[in-house]
Symmetry: C2
Subunit: 204 residues, 2 copies
DNA sequence: CGTTTAAGGTACTCGCCGTACCCTAAATCG
DNA sequence: CGATTTAGGGTACGGCGAGTACCTTAAACG
């Protein structure tokens, strides 16, 4: 029974400081996010879980949202562009990945954070580094390969065009809500919009 | 000094009931939304402003969000499809309208409500009646005219395709935040994505 | 006129953010 | 190695807002 319920190793350093403490807080915040989402991320719970108190948190982050954003950034998933051999396959795969993500608890957390940021550019920018900008690169990658194969027009190699499918799916989430979009929606986005657009031909 | 600070006409009916009271509450909620946004919509303030108390509110709406959604529905703006003579002009006009709306306080309110709903389909559905579904019709209208003029392929007359531009702009708001999108973004959406898509030709 | 229904008035619990103090351990420096 | 500075720990508190409980009182209805 040497547990000290502080989250730090039993009998370890009696008092952590600086980076060690900061990491402990962030880990606690991450755990709390995963367990209860952003709504359940309370400063008191994070403090308790990290075996410290709110002082230490407020000395590092100005408020709950900042802590939430910082914690979320530790959950970043790097997306590796698929390579199925066809643009259609790659696009479907990327969309399905995104769909799984946004439909998962992590997606809910991201949405709550976006909401809490309420348009504050500084927070949104930090969130975009994970979800938005990072997500654009794979689309350019698969499109680049498709252009090389002659499956897409070179003019489509443009961030706005390349990421259209992702934007549409994200919009679907915002407007229709939390459950993951049915696969038909994904197929429709790819076949009715994305492929015709990048190919430069009429929708089927 | 006959004002009774209840929001009801001086010396009028000493106690409102039913529909009269309900309307008074909704009006108060609407005013509060316009004045302070959804964040500032507190049950106490609405009750005070309506000259009643929280009981009367909770007897009608289960919680703050439900009241907020109900109040928002009173702010509906009906969109009349423009008719500039060209699809490009119509699309730009519709997008600029939407952009103005989402950049206005009303748009912020809508975003906050969407956020607070957090994916609950029932609330989202009620919000969509105003913002989403209602907004789809004008796009089909202008596209229908464009098809008749030969400016667009008939296959584009499909809800998902017709509303692509709106979805992209809405996504822009979600991802980039509160300030209205610059006009270049709108032009880009129309010229690089929307027109090429519905025309069935390659992006310029 | 009496009964039922709903509004008004309060007061309260609870949760949670953010802050203020004061005490104490760890780092740092002469 | 001891003194000083720095930062963490403990705790209590103010403030606000959601939602609830309960009782009183006016309006509607027969």
């Amino acid at each position: 029974m040497t547990a000290d319920s502080t989250g730090r190793p039993g009998g370890g350093p009696a008092r952590r400081r600086g980076a060690a403490l900061e990491e402990a807080i962030l880990r606690a915040a991450v755990d709390e996010l995963l367990e209860s989402g952003y709504a359940g991320l309370t400063m008191d719970k994070v403090a308790t879980r990290a075996g410290t108190n709110k002082n230490a948190i407020y000395r590092r982050w100005p408020n709950r949202l900042a802590l939430g954003v910082a914690a979320y950034r530790h959950l970043a998933t790097t997306i590796t562009p698929p390579d199925t051999g066809s643009l259609r396959g790659d696009a479907l795969e990327l969309l399905r990945q995104a769909n799984r993500y946004w439909g998962s608890p992590l997606g809910a957390i991201l949405r709550d954070l976006l909401a809490a940021a309420g348009g504050a550019p500084e927070f949104l920018a930090r969130l975009r580094e994970q979800s938005g900008d990072a997500a654009a690169a794979p689309w350019l990658t698969i499109l680049g390969r498709a252009v090389a194969r002659g499956e897409a027009a070179p003019e489509a190699l443009h961030p706005r065009v390349a990421t259209v499918a992702m934007a549409l799916l994200r919009d679907e989430f915002v407007v229709r809500g939390v459950p993951a979009a049915p696969d038909e929606v994904i197929v429709e986005i790819v076949d009715e919009v994305y492929l015709p657009l990048v190919r430069g031909r009429a929708p089927s």
